[in-house]
Symmetry: C2
Subunit: 325 residues, 2 copies
């Protein structure tokens, strides 16, 4: 049977909303319920189910590990928001704001353990490879988070270091979600690897697109405030590329804005964006995104499955690529 | 072969000191190395190996999950110290002091993932039960930590609530360490359960002893400052019991000290200890410890293994019971 992304999404949402968080103490479970019930795109569990679907596996069997991935992803968001001091998430106060830092630390920790519990529910003959895939990925995500933090203190981050960081922080979890779905469907190793590589390339394109939207997105459709990364000096692809390709004068101006402690936000966004424009970074970035996107589709097309079954994944890729938020 | 606790301890220490933390970024792995290399009693991995030894299993096979338990335990200490704002651990600055809060959050998270990786190394036919045992226990420890935090804000914690909290926060991980060792040795389910219950009772006795030593320990041999729990109003067994069994006057005095914002530390310790003495709490507490200790030994004696093999576990129990620190 071929399931539509819409049907699968509904299943994911229903399952998440029905998770029982009635365990004690409520002070631990209530923040978990709060975070998980606030939606988000649910891209990762959808990818798991679409991958299972691709290889005609059982969606019912894949549902638990798929939700496990979503729980893990949310655990990293809870800790990330605390670390970055981000007050809002999906339009609601972050856990450390609604409760406090200790609650964010402990409930994030609990969600991570819960995600391993969900993984442990897979059929026992698949458990060793699922545990290997998931624990390796979880550690990579952690390493990516730490690299991201380290980069904040450095002005000399190279393009390849940046790509490695977003690979770890973002791409490997998408790739893991897909490979997990393939594993659950007992796909051939070669096909599962191709799907993993599709995920890596999609993940890189996805994160670069995120960086781009922050500056060039449509303020009316983009969820966050345009220019947020510029204001906070986030080491995005655009900033790293700008620091590297700017002439002496532009470089000095960039540094001036990065080190300024007091500034008018709009003025800073405008000034930095002008440098990005002068350096043609929008189209340089779009070309790189296109490169990864095409590499992703290439992997997908090499998978040994009828094209008919690939439609939903291709359509998800398009949605992620041509999204405005 | 029957291994001595000393030999096993050496093996544990050697293995931990030889873990490679050369991965990148160093900012993530260096705190992990730092925490794990500073010793501690290594009670949990020793329990795992002694349990494997009890059932004549392979120590080599048990070593990795045993170290996994120790890594998990240390991950909770890193987060606990941050949450409790404890600056020192084993005579060294805590991770959040030597580095910062973000480093403590991320390296604690990474250590937790690493512990699951170690668990995943067990033979695949044992993996489902090991994952079930370990992830359930990890979640219980988290619940215990949260309960402990919740209790700080309450004056009406009952004795049974307290016992439940230390069961979750301390006892289940000791019990899990033992059952893990039994599982690795493919012990009978009944024996593994008896060993688990031995661990629960030992864990309760162990934590109650900890509470007692904080007040009645020998300042020269006790690692921490005597009276630290009294100063910080920690809801120990002694304080909970005192709040419940004190007369009106004593109760008022206890509350006065608990709510006092400025006080002389020694004076507070002296005053609260006097109330504990008047209420005979030292011997009440010792009786309860004895009760759990005897229950533990009772479980151990019911295990279907030659007494000769139980010697090392009995001797460990005695060491934990009659320790001065």
């Amino acid at each position: 049977m071929l399931h539509s992304a819409e049907t699968l999404n509904k299943k994911i949402e229903e399952t998440i909303q029905n998770i029982s968080f009635d365990l004690k103490p409520a002070s631990l479970y209530e923040p978990m319920r709060y975070v998980l019930s606030h939606g988000g795109k649910r891209v990762r569990p959808l990818m798991t189910l679409l991958a299972t679907n691709l290889f005609s596996g059982s969606i019912e069997e894949s549902l638990k590990p798929a939700i496990g991935i979503e729980i893990f992803h949310n655990s990293t968001l809870v800790h990330d928001d605390l670390i970055d001091n981000s007050d809002m998430r999906r339009g609601k106060p972050a856990v450390h704001k609604k409760w406090d830092a200790n609650t964010a630390i402990l409930s994030g920790q609990a969600m991570q353990i819960e995600s391993f519990k969900y993984m442990a529910s897979v059929p026992s003959d698949l458990l060793p490879q699922v545990m290997e895939l998931f624990s390796t990925t979880a550690m990579e995500v952690c390493r990516g988070q730490q690299l991201d933090l380290d980069f904040e203190k450095r002005e000399d981050v190279s393009e390849s270091e940046y790509i490695e960081m977003i690979m770890l922080k973002t791409a490997v979890l998408l790739a893991c979600s897909l490979k997990l779905g393939a594993t659950m469907a007992r796909a051939q190793t070669r096909d599962a690897e191709l799907l993993y590589n599709y995920g890596i390339n999609m993940g890189l394109a996805f994160q670069l697109k995120d960086d781009l939207l922050d500056v060039y997105g449509n303020p009316e459709t983009f969820g966050k405030n345009i220019g947020g990364d510029i204001v906070s000096n986030k080491k995005t692809y655009l900033l790293i590329k700008a620091l590297k390709t700017s002439d002496k004068e532009q470089h000095a101006e960039l540094l001036k804005w990065i080190t300024a402690e007091k500034f008018d936000k709009e003025e800073k966004i405008e000034a930095v964006k002008n440098i990005y424009n002068a350096l043609n970074l929008k189209s340089i970035s779009e070309n790189l995104i296109e490169k990864y996107y095409l590499a992703a589709l290439d992997c997908l097309s090499s998978i040994n499955v009828a094209n008919e079954r690939k439609k939903e994944l291709i359509s998800l890729s398009e949605n992620l690529m041509y999204r405005e938020k």
